[in-house]
């Protein structure tokens, strides 16, 4: 077996272009996918037409809210492009210079301040279906955030007014008298008057007013909390049931490493076995020179060792830029080793069915690329039945298990390392058996 291993290393050394492609291709793909996952979606360019007068404010209770502040909140999720008029904005959308345009009409302040009608902004958009979907989603989210901020300011203003009513002072509203008595002070004042008032109808009336003032002061205090819950009826409390929270960057690293491990392990093993057939050497080897089992062990071992080393180097290299827990290094090694073995075993199974290295590579690519995307589809993102199909496919190939093992090893994510490792060992055995059967058929 040592002679065969030496031969394979010699052939690899002489196939520098192939080796470079084998290492660089998965690394580039891995980095691209990792980059795409770890970065938030880019902010779409949106033209802004602000038709309100500069410095215009909206009166909310005792407060004045700047319209510009609302616009600023609204466009924190997009890349705003200031445009002078609605017509210009429409032209820019039509020309594709911006994905959408938002027109803030001049009467928005008056409508919101009126308290009887809703403020309205106008959105113009264009582009293909994906762009339309992106811009709609971004603007809807931006509007929701801006409305929430606006609603908080209204709550604050209302709370201030309630405080003034309960504790007394000035409402700050145009025309309202200053130094008002607070509701909570009224019962005390009234009781002093009642003490000097003889029994009779007037005294009873004063006592009724005092009881009402007590009740109103107590309940208006509660109404501030009611206002808060109306402004944001449902607050979010999050709890991660299993494992640790995984930062997206760390997960992207794991995805990138798993992809490199898979491509390198599968392609090397598939190519190695297929080359024996392509060179017509397989028959010569298995007629007593080396058993099929030993041949598979050699191919799996070589491919797994190479992919393991490249993936480990990649993980360690990325670890310089992204914060990884080096205390978990032994777990990294275990996950990488088991993943590498499973991918190499899959590669030998593919290679044993292909007539030559080129066919083996094509088949490997056809199988591997969808596996990546299927493994990254989150539960709930597709229909229940389709997700079940995806789960079955992901279960019978090692990518998802390797991804889970690496995520558990590197990020301490759930599921814990044991399950995916056992899964990978099982898949290694399964694909080794399939590869052996394929080799038997190959002659």
């Amino acid at each position: 077996m040592r002679a065969l291993l030496r031969k394979d290393l010699l052939i690899l050394r002489r196939s520098r272009l192939l080796l470079a492609v084998l290492v660089l291709y998965p690394v580039v793909i891995a980095l691209l996918i990792g980059f795409a996952i770890s970065r938030a979606p880019s902010r779409p360019r949106v033209a802004i037409v602000d038709e309100t007068a500069p410095g215009e404010t909206i009166q909310v209770g005792s407060r004045r809210v700047q319209v510009g502040e609302y616009a600023h909140q609204l466009f924190s999720n997009v890349e705003p492009v200031a445009v002078g008029s609605r017509a210009q904005a429409r032209r820019q959308v039509a020309d594709g210079k911006v994905l959408a345009a938002v027109v803030i009409p001049s009467d928005i302040a008056a409508r919101v301040s009126s308290g009887t009608s809703q403020g309205q902004i106008e959105v113009l958009y264009n582009g293909d279906a994906l762009e339309q979907s992106l811009v709609r989603a971004q603007l809807r989210s931006a509007l929701a955030e801006a409305n929430l901020g606006f609603s908080r300011q209204i709550q604050d203003a209302a709370a201030e007014a309630i405080d003034a009513l309960v504790r007394g002072g000035s409402l700050g509203t145009l025309g309202a008298p200053s130094n008002l008595i607070g509701l909570e002070q009224i019962p005390g004042e009234l009781r002093r008057v009642i003490a000097r008032t003889p029994a009779g109808h007037d005294r009873e009336a004063l006592e009724r007013i005092a009881r009402f003032a007590d009740f109103a002061a107590a309940n208006l205090g509660v109404s501030k909390r009611v206002l808060a819950s109306v402004g944001q009826p449902i607050a979010i409390h999050t709890e991660l049931v299993h494992g640790r929270r995984t930062p997206l960057d760390s997960f992207a690293v794991v995805v990138a490493v798993a992809i490199s491990l898979m491509f390198l392990g599968v392609l090397l093993a598939a190519g190695g076995i297929a080359l024996e057939r392509e060179e017509h050497v397989l028959a010569r080897l298995v007629r007593g020179l080396i058993s099929r089992g030993a041949l598979l062990v050699e191919k799996v071992g070589l491919a797994a060792a190479c992919s393991f080393l490249v993936a480990l180097a990649m993980l360690a290299g990325v670890g310089i830029f992204v914060s990884l827990d080096w205390g978990r290094f032994p777990q990294w090694l275990l996950a990488l080793a088991c993943g590498a073995l499973a991918f190499a075993a899959l590669g030998t199974a593919i290679g044993s069915l292909a007539r030559d290295a080129r066919a083996a590579s094509i088949v490997a690519f056809l199988i591997l690329l969808p596996l990546i995307f299927l493994a990254l589809v989150p539960a709930g993102a597709v229909g229940h039945g389709f997700y079940d199909v995806i789960s079955v496919i992901s279960f019978v190939f090692p990518f998802k298990a390797a991804l889970q093992a690496l995520d558990a090893a590197v990020n301490g994510a759930s599921p814990s390392l044991g399950g995916p490792i056992a899964h990978l060992i099982g898949l290694t055995a399964l694909f080794a058996v399939l590869a052996r059967a394929g080799l038997r058929r190959a002659l």
């Binding site: 031969k7 010699l10 052939i11 060179e279 017509h280 010569r284 007629r287 020179l289 080396i290």
Partner: protein, 236 residues
Amino acid sequence: MSAALSVEALGKRFGDLVALEDVSFELAPGELLGVLGPNGAGKTTLLSAIAGVQPPSSGTVSLAPRQVGWAPQRAALYGKLTVAENLELFARLERVAEPRAAVEAMLEQTGLGARAGEQLARLSGGNRQRVNVAAGLLGDPPVLALDEPSASLDPAQRERLWTFVKELTATGRAVIFSTHNPAEAQRHADRLLVLDGGRLRFDGTSGELLARAGAGETDLEHALVWFLEHEGAGAA
């Protein structure tokens, strides 16, 4: 003299397909035995079974696979390795005691010493076939099985190959080869086997096969066609 190789009632099935049935013959040391027959007759299957590439379904071969040198029709070698590296690899896999010495000896014997450092992919078809045969000889087997050894060679390369093979038989090594070319078999083989439909239909010299076709017949190809029509699988 005892036989270098004895094949007894050899049979090979692939599912329902009978590729070989009840084939028996012996091969003497130093003998050059040609196997003739139409496509699908079972020539390659016979040589593969003798060489241990395909385990027989029935019957016996007197030698273990590693005691039979084997050179398949297409060179079973690595194009990226040099001639010497290919031979050394197979010498090590054959567990030859002194692999490098065996390679040196084989390079000298095949006249490939000057090409030892060349990558196999850059050699001519003839030289590649010589390395292919040389790889089969590394374990110093008493019997060499050659599957259509001259199929892809030009006349000059064929001539050099047969000279080399005859040098091997001259040293007592028995050689069995398959061919589609009756003229080649007539010219080089000491004895012929004719297979058809997986069965051995003829075992004798080319002169005996010519005689079967009728007095005065000198063209072995013509005689073979006649023989297969009258005594082959389709004759009954």
